[in-house]
Homo-oligomer: 192 residues x 2
């Protein structure tokens, strides 16, 4: 965070203030009206919040149904894909001290599911997360014609949480481009 004053319509606002806790200037704006093409400004406003607010707003934690559709562009062995997912989930759970025997078993089933598959171009992997988070459902449809969809359920809530985080978790997730795309959609909706 910068320590420089932020000016809103020539009025300075400190970037931080402390009431009970240190709060950061999260947004600013003005109130105004336009009369006969003349803008009349009434007030300049600064909004301060605990920086923690961001954690509360992480969309992957919101209790709504989510569905992720992954389409293969470059072919890869299912086992290679599975290994990447496995490392992320295992490391993320270990980091918060939640990687126990049950998690290991649940994760192994996911790895097994991908093990035997080959991800040709245009194959589709899907993840379905109900609003309650677990069980999640993983699906796979090969690009080969006439192949049926393979499905599996992931019952362990901790493993489900980290799979979700892999695609939707921001910082350490697999695709920053998704997150900024979601953030843009959300921010335009939030400001409606």
């Amino acid at each position: 965070m910068s320590s420089e004053m932020v000016t809103v319509d020539e009025i300075p606002f400190p970037p931080q203030i402390t009431v009970a806790k240190p709060l950061s200037l999260l947004g600013h704006g003005i109130t105004d009206i336009e009369i006969h093409f003349l803008q009349i400004k009434f007030t300049a406003i600064g909004v301060y919040m605990e920086p923690d607010v961001v954690k509360h707003l992480q969309q992957w934690k919101a209790p709504v149904e989510k569905f992720i559709r992954v389409v293969v562009i470059k072919e890869i062995k299912g086992s290679q894909y599975g290994v990447q997912l496995e490392s992320f989930v295992r490391d993320s759970l270990a980091a918060v001290d939640k990687y126990e025997e049950e998690e290991e078993e649940a994760l192994e089933k996911v790895v097994d599911f991908f093990q035997s598959k080959y991800f040709k171009k245009d194959s589709i992997i899907t993840y379905y997360f109900p609003a309650t988070s677990a069980p999640a459902e993983i699906g796979f449809v090969s690009a080969d014609e006439g192949k049926e969809e393979a499905k599996m359920k992931v019952e362990n809530a901790n493993v489900v949480e980290m799979i979700k985080k892999w695609y939707l978790g921001g910082t350490r997730g697999v695709s920053p481009s998704i997150i900024s795309s979601i953030a843009n959609t959300l921010s335009s909706n939030l400001s409606k």
Copy 2:
């Protein structure tokens, strides 16, 4: 919502899908790496969620401390300002059937607080909302030198909620420019 396919790296994604409920394409992206200046794309990804996710992410509802500093640009009578706040809070509470005697009394105290004041240019109105939402504290410092800060507490949680919504509530709030400013800050933080 549009019904046209969204293409992500030439791969089409439907704008809506239905699993248990109808879900909207909220974001998309790709996974890739760059090797020797060559981008290798692995997958195209579409993320679908209940459109309701936006409600869960409204920042003014997050349980963190908030502080709003309003600086007067154009002078106005405190009573005029108070009337605007009063109408918004009363109408918003009535709309959700929460405008009872207690709310009326609490709101009247707020109106009384502003009644006797004159908002000269550079006067400052502050709103402090603790993480638990109520009681909120309203402050006023006149631009006249030597004036002490006047303060009052708002104990009624429903009234507090709607005062918060006046400045931070988006659609019907007093300043859309604040909301888009906050949304931008949040979205850049969420995608970090």
